[in-house]
């Protein structure tokens, strides 16, 4: 089947003069409210049941990896925001970590704390968008407004921190751009205090809603083995019951200083690894992120936030493979330096890229309407897929 257009594949099987049936080829996207960006599925369906759903990606390909080779080490930092603009802080951090590892730069302790605070707030506001829009995709509008309201407060906090609400460009190679503004710490603590009970409110509002759970339970079950085979990461992996988090299992930055749990899917509403498990893992992760931010703000050490890094930055030749836990899970940066002022190669391996590749497998024999739940539960973010 071609991916080019809307061609209808007619399969007339006249068995003993019975009625002929036709498979319907449906193009879903690229502009579709539930695809969270521009991506497209070509669905072959028998009535309402999908025989296959083939993803067609690349609509948001901005050749970010090629740009890296042209703009230099410092200059690439703002572009990393655009890799995943729903949670840009971890992308900043990934690039900074790769450059620091190549050049053996140590980030000051306070700089690392600022990074963790920013990244965890980024994770919360990404998960808020994910769970809110998931509820909306399934048909419940109100939770979305609640999630977006909270996301706005976090955007306000981050705006005060770095001047931007979405594409932050907060981190630098060697640390972060600015220290916390005056009184920001108290505002952030007050916000966490306000936000934590709201997660329970959100749960009461939608998570245990009968209609909602029935739509998600036992849909698109991904076994632990499949999850690893397809390299699913982050909440999608943990939804399948695999207790793995880069922050704990391949520790980086100052995460070993903090105490937090790793929620995993337990099949509460159906089977381990179904859409509901992936959803509820994100809800619980927001609480864990709150814990981390609070500990971080309480333990915040003094000192500088950025190490001395030459303006004309030339890390020694070599390569590195940096992994960190972004909002969509284990994000890999394979960066090669040839000792010049420009990166030689930068490959960004993102969570959504792996997550969308499993869609054809899990969507077989589901209803078309369930594809929406699958996309939402995998938290596919189109810019991150295409880069």
């Amino acid at each position: 089947m071609g991916l080019a257009g809307f061609e209808v594949e007619v399969q007339r099987e006249t068995r003993d003069g019975g009625l002929a049936t036709e498979d319907m080829t449906l193009s879903m996207g690229p502009q579709h409210p539930s695809t969270h960006g521009v991506l497209r599925f070509v669905v072959r369906a028998d009535g309402e049941v999908m025989k296959e759903a083939i993803p067609d990606i690349g609509y948001l390909h901005r050749s970010i990896e090629k740009i890296a080779e042209k703009v230099g080490w410092h200059g690439f930092m703002p572009y990393t925001d655009r890799v995943d603009y729903v949670a840009a802080m971890p992308c900043n951090q990934g690039w900074a970590m790769a450059a620091e590892r190549l050049a053996s730069i140590e980030v000051p302790k306070r700089g690392e704390y600022c990074r963790v605070i920013a990244t965890e707030f980024s994770r919360i506001h990404s998960h808020l968008l994910s769970v809110g829009s998931m509820a909306m995709d399934i048909g419940a509008y109100t939770p979305f407004t609640h999630a977006i309201r909270e996301r706005e407060y976090i955007n306000d906090l981050l705006e005060e921190l770095c001047g931007a609400r979405l594409t932050f460009h907060y981190m630098r190679i060697g640390g972060v751009g600015w220290d916390l503004p005056p009184a920001w710490r108290d505002k952030a603590l007050a916000y966490i205090k306000r936000f934590e009970p709201l997660i329970d409110e959100f749960n009461d509002l939608i998570s245990w809603n009968k209609i909602y759970t029935e739509r998600l339970a036992n849909v698109a079950v991904v076994s632990a083995r499949d999850a690893i085979d397809y390299n699913l990461v982050g909440p999608n992996l943990r939804g399948s019951g695999v207790k793995y988090d880069v922050r704990r299992d391949e520790p980086y930055s100052v995460y070993p200083d903090f105490d937090f749990d790793i929620p995993v899917g337990r099949g509460e509403m159906g089977t381990v690894g179904d859409c509901f498990d992936r959803y509820i893992v994100r809800i619980r992760e927001m609480k864990e992120s709150c814990k981390i931010v609070r500990q971080c703000l309480e333990k915040l050490p003094g000192g500088p936030v950025i190490a001395k890094v030459p303006r004309n930055f030339k890390p020694p030749a070599g390569d590195c493979y940096v992994r960190l836990e972004s909002a969509r899970g284990d994000m890999g940066w394979y960066v090669v330096s040839d000792g010049t002022a420009f990166p030689y190669r930068c490959k960004i391996r993102t969570g959504s890229f792996a997550a969308i590749s499993i869609v054809p497998k899990v969507s077989r024999n589901l209803m078309i309407a369930d594809l929406i739940a699958v996309i939402a539960s995998l938290d596919l973010v189109a810019p991150e897929i295409d880069r």
Binding site: H61, A224, R225, I228, Y321, D386
Partner: protein
């Protein structure tokens, strides 16, 4: 297989140092495995010939004590000076929490590497991406099409000598600087 269980629970198996993994590979495949290179845990690697890659990866995936059940990353790097394209495999083991990198050099004018999509499903899309952006042909791949670029795009953009076409279907790919006086 121990994989899923050991991961789901907390029963972890001991992690091996890269040197130990390399020694096991040498013991099994001899000189087909290049010398151990790298300076840190995350870039310890060995180079090998493309023809050996499937066999070596199958060993790494199934051998007790190694069990690399995850292809964490697959990327390609163009080296026109050496006239090769290097395909880099970052492997990871969830039960053991250890990692290892394999590198394969393939000639630039005819880059062909056997596919690993039979071993790890993740390789399917990653190989399509490397094919799309660098033009490496993965032999035996079930569905080797472009994935990010349009199907009729000329050339492979991540090659160092790639020249961007002036236009694509009548759409200009550049514009004059808005900052010009």
């Amino acid at each position: 297989m121990a994989g899923a269980d050991a991961v789901g629970g907390e029963r972890l198996m001991p992690a091996l140092e890269a040197a130990a993994i390399h020694a096991r590979l040498r013991a099994r495949f001899g000189d087909a495995i290049g010398d151990l290179a790298g300076t840190r845990r995350d870039n310890m690697c060995a180079t090998l010939a493309p023809a050996k890659i499937v066999e070596v990866c199958r060993f790494l995936k199934t051998e007790p004590g190694l069990e690399f059940d995850c292809l964490s990353n697959l990327s390609g790097v163009d080296y026109p000076k050496r006239s090769v394209i290097q395909v880099v495999y970052n492997l990871y083991s969830y039960p053991h929490r250890h990692l290892f990198t394999l590198k394969v050099d393939t000639p630039r004018d005819n880059p062909v590497v056997p596919t690993l999509s039979g071993l790890w499903s993740h390789a399917d899309w990653q190989e399509r991406e490397v094919f799309d952006l660098l033009g490496v042909v993965f032999e035996g791949h079930p569905d080797l099409r472009r994935i990010l670029m349009p199907e009729d795009w000329p050339g492979h953009p991540l090659r160092k000598d790639f020249v961007e076409p002036e236009e694509y279907h009548g759409i200009s790919t550049s514009r004059e600087s808005l900052l010009k006086a």
